[in-house]
């Protein structure tokens, strides 16, 4: 009994469980491998190839990713001349840390007063907006803003990383990243605000628990958010900062070994974070479920979104920077404004 109690007490404590286990570190690490495996496998299917295969024939080459990761871990980290070694080694870590951080504040499920394995923490994570507990690392009623605020530090870290490597291609990549981050952050914020106006709240839990999925309530905001998510996580066709045929690898040009893995992981984690927010905001999150199954439902929906956005690699090329900027400011930005008006009008008429 003691061990079971310990498990419930320590591991299932939402502040531990959410950041470390379910949407957090462990799940994200597995998802990361799965996503890259899926990306390679899906691209291979479209491109008349087999993809990863020989590392584990029965699993469809899944272990290839483990092998790749191991290889990267053991390969030498080359620090170029003329860089500050501390900054050089620190920035990839910061990049990953900054992209992981929002996972602690994204609600993935609710905790009912009784019946769930998390129910003992019902009162500790009580959300007065919906009258239920929330499965989240750190509960605030303003989690929508907090997530976006933390995630918007991520591009700054990329720019810092590029600057600290003292490479011309990296600098060009950083300039591109800074242009892009300005344009997609605005879109993300505006579609989030339109949802906030519509649901009269800054709390994702209330949006989910309202019972109306956001994609029906405000489809324009969903489209805007989805495109901004693809730009923000540097998926095709907006792989502009890391454009490999133009800029070698953009900000990550000089990195090798483990540090390179970290630079790559950042954008995938960022993608997952945006996908989780998208799921909560537009796709009903965990809605009829609660507790652990609810959390599973949320991350599965988010994973499918991530899979879809990596699948776009096999369909698209890469836009030019000015085209991406023009697209987002000239076409998507008005869409975001329209979504805001839609949110305003619907929110005014539909008082909960």
């Amino acid at each position: 009994m003691n061990i079971l109690f310990d498990i419930r007490y320590y591991i299932l404590y939402p502040s531990f469980f959410a950041p470390i286990i379910l949407p957090g570190l462990i799940f994200t690490a597995i998802l990361l491998l799965t996503t890259i495996w899926f990306e390679r496998k899906a691209a291979a299917r479209v491109q008349m190839r087999v993809g990863p295969y020989y590392a584990s024939k029965r699993l469809g080459g899944y272990l290839q990713l483990v092998a790749d990761a191991l290889k990267f871990v053991f390969s030498e980290v080359i620090v170029p001349d003329g860089v500050n070694p501390t900054l050089f080694a620190l920035t990839p870590v910061l990049v990953v840390a900054m992209s992981f951080l929002p996972l602690a504040v994204i609600p993935v499920s609710v905790i009912p007063p009784s019946g769930s394995i998390f129910s003992i923490y019902f009162y500790d994570f009580y959300d007065p907006n919906v009258g239920l507990g929330v499965l989240v690392g750190l509960f605030t009623q303003y989690n929508m803003l907090l997530i976006l605020a933390i995630e918007s530090i991520y591009p700054a870290m990329i720019i810092l990383m590029a600057w600290s490597t003292n490479n011309r291609f990296a600098i060009v990549g950083a300039v591109r990243e800074s242009y892009l981050s300005v344009s997609y952050d605005v879109l993300l914020l505006m579609s989030t605000i339109s949802m906030a106006l519509e649901y009269h709240t800054l709390d994702l839990v209330k949006i989910v628990q309202s019972g109306v999925p956001g994609i029906l309530a405000n489809p324009l905001a969903a489209v805007t958010f989805f495109i901004a998510m693809i730009i923000g996580s540097a998926r095709f066709p907006f792989d502009i900062a890391e454009a490999d045929t133009e800029l070698v690898l953009g900000p990550a040009t000089e990195y090798s070994g483990l540090l390179f893995v970290l630079t790559m992981a950042g954008s995938y984690v960022g993608n997952f974070v945006y996908a989780l927010v998208f799921t909560d905001m537009f796709l009903w999150g965990w809605y009829p479920l609660s507790g652990f199954p609810g959390a599973l439902l949320t991350v599965i929906k988010a994973s499918i979104l991530v899979f879809f956005s990596v699948f776009l690699r096999s369909v698209y090329g890469r836009y030019r920077l000015d085209q991406a900027l023009r697209g987002s400011w000239k076409y998507i930005f008005p869409l975001a404004i329209a979504s805001m008006f839609l949110g305003l009008v619907v929110g005014y008429l539909w008082i909960q």
Binding site: Q47, D239, E246, R318, R320, L321, D322
Partner: protein, 397 residues
């Protein structure tokens, strides 16, 4: 600077980037780019990383030895490279080529052209980030390479065409393969259109990029699809029909715009035209010999029986080992996959050419690319490079 209806003030920020030769988007080529902001002010092109000294080796080898050498520079278009050289040599030798061999030359040349265009498309696709186009280009090319393998005995280093004819004959099995391959390619082109040509992303990257007007194309001496993408109606197959082209019905696709998308469209339509030519060749090919009588008579009868009657293969008479053409010079042109290919052979009556000049289409693209890069965006470097279908070994020779 006006771009897409928006006025941009460009703050002068100058810098230099050294693209290549070890760069994912350069090939065996160094482009020294002077940037002002995102705009390329000047581009210095430094080819020569895969120089094979074809012209110098040409002066030191017998005529027959040069067949594998001249097809190496553009290995993916080897039949056309081979054909151009043989045409020049035949002009000096004054040999007539039998009808069937002419058709077979056109057959192999068109397969080579399709393969070359698919390769070029793949490179263009990966340059602008479209990895599916890259894999499809190479995958579809494999089908044509299989046919060439069945016909000539080698996948890409065909060495198929020899003075006076070709080395192997078409068999019913190859005709069957070709028919299936034509049907496959037609189907696949539809998917190509969906995922690549009509993809708004690809359109955005290629339209209005690297615009070359008709006058510029003529002044810079562009060749092949690059020229036809700029509205110049010129094709060596029409201007100076070689092989069986004077008897075949095909069109020359010409587009007016002169940008990367027009060049890509020209290539796609040329694939369709090549498929048409292949169909006609299969239908119309006459029976007969595939080597000029002058050489055919020199083959020992026992060998003839074994190879020509048994396996539909031509064996070479000993004459080929070091033939001495009469004194003279000849210039030949063929329309290779990337454009017009010119050989200038000067013979002094010995077994080796006195001078061999080989002008490949990519060689002519060097000047075009240098000029087109001026004023383009840095991100357009790769789309200009890819849409010109520049192939460094072919330019370096």
């Amino acid at each position: 600077m006006k771009s897409g209806g928006m006025e941009l003030d460009i703050v002068p920020v100058s810098g230099e980037l050294n693209v290549g030769p070890q760069h994912p988007g350069s090939g065996h080529l160094r482009i020294f780019v002077k940037l002002n902001g995102d705009i390329i002010e000047d581009a210095e092109i430094d080819p020569g990383y895969v120089h094979r000294a074809v012209e110098k080796l040409g002066e030191n080898r017998n005529y027959i030895h040069l067949i594998p050498l001249v097809e190496r520079p553009a290995i993916l278009d080897s039949v056309n490279m081979n054909l151009g050289y043989i045409l020049a040599v035949e002009k000096i030798l004054n040999v007539d080529v039998p009808e069937r061999a002419q058709y077979l030359r056109s057959f192999a040349a068109e397969i080579s052209r399709i393969a070359s265009h698919l390769y070029g498309m793949g490179i263009l696709a990966i340059f602008i980030g479209h990895s599916t186009g890259f894999m499809w280009g190479f995958g579809d090319r494999e089908v044509w390479v299989q046919i060439l393998e069945a016909l000539t005995g080698a996948r890409i280093t065909n060495s198929y065409i020899i003075p006076g004819g070709v080395r192997r004959d078409l068999t019913p099995a190859i005709i069957e393969m070709t028919k299936k391959a034509i049907a496959f390619q037609r189907k696949k082109i539809k998917d190509w259109e969906r995922i690549f040509l009509n993809n708004p992303n690809i359109k955005a990257r290629l339209q209005d990029v690297g615009v070359m007007t008709r006058e510029q194309a003529i002044e810079w001496g562009a060749a092949g699809p690059n020229l036809r993408g700029s509205g110049v109606y010129y094709d060596a197959r029409k201007s100076e029909p070689y092989g069986a082209y004077s008897k075949l019905d095909f069109e020359i696709p010409v587009y007016k715009e002169g940008d990367g998308y027009a060049r890509t469209l020209v290539r796609f339509e040329e694939i369709e035209q090549s498929l048409r030519i292949l169909e006609q060749v299969i239908k119309d090919i006459p029976e007969g010999q595939i080597l000029s009588d002058r050489f055919f008579k020199q083959i020992p009868p026992t060998r003839l029986k074994k190879w020509w009657e048994g396996q539909r293969r031509i064996v070479m008479p000993g004459y080929y080992a070091s033939f001495r053409p009469p004194k003279g010079e000849a210039i030949s042109r063929v329309e290779a996959g990337r454009g017009e290919l010119v050989y200038y052979v000067v013979s002094d009556g010995s077994a080796k050419p006195y001078r061999l000049r080989m002008i490949t289409p990519s060689y002519r693209s060097i000047y075009v690319m240098k000029n087109l890069l001026k004023g383009a965006r840095y991100a357009d470097l790769v789309s200009i490079y890819g849409s010109l279908d520049y192939f460094p070994p072919e330019a370096d020779r």
